[in-house]
């Protein structure tokens, strides 16, 4: 925690008018959000796991 906080002074507040490049789609943490959502939904359905991506928690059948 201490080591992590030592890096905090390196953080800068980027003014909103300098965020043009940061706003580009390929700068997003997840460049393909739709694809990731579908994959995640599919995965959680097959695993029968409770998830925010599969409404009913999945039945292991992989169905939507």
């Amino acid at each position: 925690m201490f080591i992590m906080s030592a890096g905090l002074p390196g953080c800068v507040n980027v003014p909103v008018w300098e965020r043009g490049n940061l706003a580009k789609p390929h700068m997003a943490l997840d460049p393909y959000p739709l694809q990731s959502a579908v994959r995640s939904h599919n995965y959680n359905s097959r695993e029968a796991a409770a998830s925010t991506h599969s409404g009913d928690g999945g039945g292991g059948c992989g169905c939507y």
């Binding site: 925690m1 003014p15 909103v16 008018w17």
Partner: protein
């Protein structure tokens, strides 16, 4: 052990988020009901344009926008509507462009034509004076020159509130 670290990290992140939120909220609150800062604008080509205080006596809707901002696209059709409806009653809409490359702004305007005034804040001094922290950010200035309403972002459901505020300020006399 790892779980404890995770909890501690989550708490720290939450604390930072709350601090940032409160800081931004108080920055916006400082502007409310106070005379608006003056701004020296230029056209997109760089020619001098009228400053903000030149419009005293009118209700001024200052909208800070940039070409890379998706909600700005949506806000422009609403602003065009406002211009149509309320220009005759004394509403002045000023779209302040904050793009770093003017060509981007021009391409955006070619794609989404506007009917209100577009100016550029080349030094970004105006955005700093207004403490702009979101894109788009809108400031409604009454006929006396006071900032009366600040709106950050643009969502479809909020247009009615903005329209009501504009109507209310237009009925007030200086």
């Amino acid at each position: 052990m790892i779980k404890q670290h995770m909890v501690s990290l989550t708490r720290s992140a939450l604390f930072i988020l709350i601090a940032v939120f409160l800081a931004s909220y108080s920055m916006a609150a400082q502007q409310m009901n106070k005379p608006s800062p003056d701004c020296a604008f230029t056209t997109l080509d760089g020619a001098p344009a009228q400053g903000l205080h030149a419009f005293q006596g009118e209700v001024v809707y200052v909208d800070f926008w940039a070409s890379w901002c998706p909600p700005c696209v949506k806000s422009f059709s609403f602003l065009n509507q406002l211009e149509h409806e309320f220009k005759a009653q004394g509403l002045r809409i000023i779209g302040v462009n904050l793009d770093e490359k003017k060509a981007d702004a021009q391409a955006f305007l070619d794609k989404y034509p506007v009917e209100f005034d577009i100016v550029a804040d080349q030094t970004k001094q105006c955005a700093q004076n207004f403490a702009v922290i979101a894109m788009p950010s809108s400031y409604l200035i009454d006929r006396k020159g006071n900032v009366r309403y600040i709106h950050q972002g643009f969502r479809q459901g909020e247009t009615e509130q903005l329209r009501l505020m504009v109507q209310q300020f237009l009925t007030e006399q200086p």
